[in-house]
């Protein structure tokens, strides 16, 4: 025989999963929400997304090529996801240079400094977002209102998010029923006709993306369902106790970054638990923290903080919640 045989341990076939496929699958799932944001926030949204994605790719490339001197894997799409998610988490009128700084923090500090994809304990996009929120609180919380400014880059009409209105009102002692007139209708919330960060506005687009990922087996139902359900139950109970202070749970589900967080951020493979049981615990934890921050915290929105806090517990959850073993002997 002229050929040289290859010898390796079994198995000799490999399934058609690959990191690339998974990551680009997530990117594809993000497209509906992206399109909605382009529709409502116009050129600002497009430019912010482009800047975020390209600077994430650039930073990852530079770090891998010149600092770590390892194989460059920017084509696997994980930096694209980080870029898109980061862009989704900021207002569309954020100055470009801030976006670049955010991308730097997300990729260089939150991801590559830990060793790259797979080794980061926190979701890079969320670290980037929280960094921006703390460093530039004013720019990060003046949200442009949709539609009116489709062709304008900056200096558009801005206003608070629905959650912001609520928080502000409640803290001034107003009741939910008097505030209701200032809040958008549920149908608007559902399709995304409200002020807010780029990607978080349209629940329906995010759900479509989530269903696609479920279908492609990129994510499992455990985290999103347990997360959203927990927020629903938690805020639902409070709403039953006193509907004048605590708004109804559907409002909580449709506003802010809950859908985005539950479907795309909390399910990030690298920073979520491995076993199904662990995922449920993680989702419930995220849900409780989100509700706590939203209702009693200083910030109107708590999804980013909730997920980041739960990220820290992942190693512990992995240790504590093992998968069900075959033929387990009861001790």
């Amino acid at each position: 025989m002229s050929n040289v045989f290859v010898v390796s341990g079994s198995p000799h076939v490999h399934g058609d999963y690959s990191v690339k496929k998974i990551m680009w699958g997530v990117v594809l799932a993000l497209v509906p929400a992206m399109l909605v944001s382009f529709w409502y926030f116009g050129i600002g949204a497009i430019s912010i997304t482009l800047v975020a994605v390209s600077s994430c790719l650039f930073f990852e490339y530079v770090i891998q090529k010149y600092f770590l001197k390892q194989e460059v894997t920017v084509s696997d799409g994980s930096a694209v996801i980080t870029g898109v998610l980061l862009a989704f988490n900021v207002p569309s009128n954020l100055p470009i240079w801030m976006m670049i700084i955010g991308s730097f923090v997300a990729i260089v500090i939150a991801k590559m400094s830990y060793g790259g994809l797979g080794k980061n304990p926190f979701n890079p996009a969320l670290i980037g977002r929280v960094f921006l929120l703390i460093a530039f609180p004013v720019d990060m919380t003046s949200w442009p209102l949709p539609i009116v400014n489709r062709t304008v880059l900056c200096d558009a009409v801005t206003g608070p998010t629905s959650l912001g209105i609520l928080k502000e009102g409640i803290s001034k002692g107003e009741s939910v029923s008097t505030l209701a007139s200032n809040l958008p209708a549920y149908t608007d919330l559902f399709i995304g006709n409200m002020g807010g960060s780029l990607g978080e506005v349209s629940a329906i687009a995010l759900i479509i993306g989530g269903l696609y990922m479920l279908f492609k087996k990129i994510i499992t139902w455990h985290i999103p369902v347990s997360y959203i359900l927990t927020v629903f139950v938690f805020t639902g109970i409070l709403n039953l106790v006193n509907p004048e202070i605590y708004i109804d749970p559907v409002f909580h589900l449709l506003t802010g970054g809950l859908m985005l967080g539950a479907i795309f951020m909390a399910t990030d493979m690298v920073t979520s638990p491995m076993s199904y049981k662990g995922m449920l615990v993680f989702g419930i934890g995220c849900g409780v923290l989100t509700a706590l921050i939203r209702i009693w915290g200083a910030y109107p929105e708590g999804v980013s903080f909730a997920i980041l806090i739960m990220n820290t517990t992942v190693p512990l959850i992995n240790k504590g919640f093992k998968p069900k073993q075959f033929g387990e002997v009861n001790k």
């Binding site: 025989m1 045989f5 290859v6 076939v13 493979m269 638990p273 076993s275 199904y276 073993q325 075959f326």
Partner: protein, 443 residues
Amino acid sequence: MKTFNLGGVHPEENKLSGNSPIKVCSIPTTVSIPLAQNLGAASVPIVAKGEKVKVGQLIAKGEAFISSNIHSSVSGTVLKIDDIMDASGYRKKAIIINVEGDEWLEEIDRSADIKREISYNKGEIVSIVKDSGVVGLGGATFPTQVKLMVPEGKKAEYLIINGVECEPYLTSDHRLMLEKGEELLIGISILMKALDVSKALIGIENNKQDAIANLKKLAVNYKGIEVHELQVKYPQGGEKQLIKALINREVPSGKLPIEVGCVVNNVGTAFAVYEAVQKKKPLIERVVTITGKTVKNPSNYMVRIGTPLSFLLSEADSMPEGTGKVINGGPMMGKALTTLEIPVVKGMSGVVIMPEGEAKRPNAYNCIRCGKCISACPMGLEPYLIALMSEQNKFESCEGERVMDCMECGSCSFTCPSGRPLLDMIRVSKNKVSQIIRLRSNK
């Protein structure tokens, strides 16, 4: 439809040779019959250089408890007893016989008649099986007579017959069930008698509808034998998974199937038992699938044990250009061969030939902690964790993670999106842990 609940993967089935009937491979000019063909101790040769042997003559005896007899598959003269290359490239002792004619021992019934009534009692059956050198033909080659001896205090309720053939490509069991259904069922009845059980369940995956139909039709005449259709899912052929799928019992960790009242045998083994008991024919040949995407005629051959693989492949005319890997067994659990100059042995159920493009593994990247290996593992282990600890030489922790439960089905490596060699590292750890366990028990 039934299947097991935990883990599992769906590799491409590629049952290319499913429709090709079993052909008989001609006899080569020399055969080399290895002395270590079964799990357990190697057999001890009882023939010497220059001795004449006939087909079916005993040439090596299994002397330990877990060992098996070996018979000559050809007639001729013993050339020598020497080291030859085995499947892994290491040298093992083998009896090399120069073939002269095809002279069989007289007592062997070579007619095609089907002999139905079983005229032996329990003990006699076990001793015939032992004398005939029957081993598990699914691949593990565990001596069958040992399985038939139910340990004290345990009772077998079910005989489970494994016709799952969950490995992609392989079809030797499939063809056997189609072509030798009657013999198979008699073999099963013999095994039932030996084990003193009243129920036998045959598990077949539903990608073999013709075999299911055939056996269902025939089984009507046999008391206590049921044919069960199973959903296609790898590794359903693992005995613990098969028991779980068929009767929903879980074999406890570290225990044998008899713990839940089951004895599992392969269909090939049942056929070999039929031949041994009813026809007095020891295990001297078996069905081997020769297949692969580039192979011209993927087919199944009845091959004498000891036939050089290169001879079989040239007979099948299946050594295509650009072959990158030759696998002894299925692609999920088989062993890649270093050379074709190895003999066909009792445990060889098929040979899969892969072109160069398929032979290489995907590149390995960082673990992205996606948990796919966990959801794929049929034993509910955490492959990523065990592989990681194995890389860090933390073998005591591996033992705590029950690495010894791993049956090396390869679902984890198969499913890993980062292409990490998880099973390789788990194997390292299994080896080291068994060393640790041995050391501990010696203390």
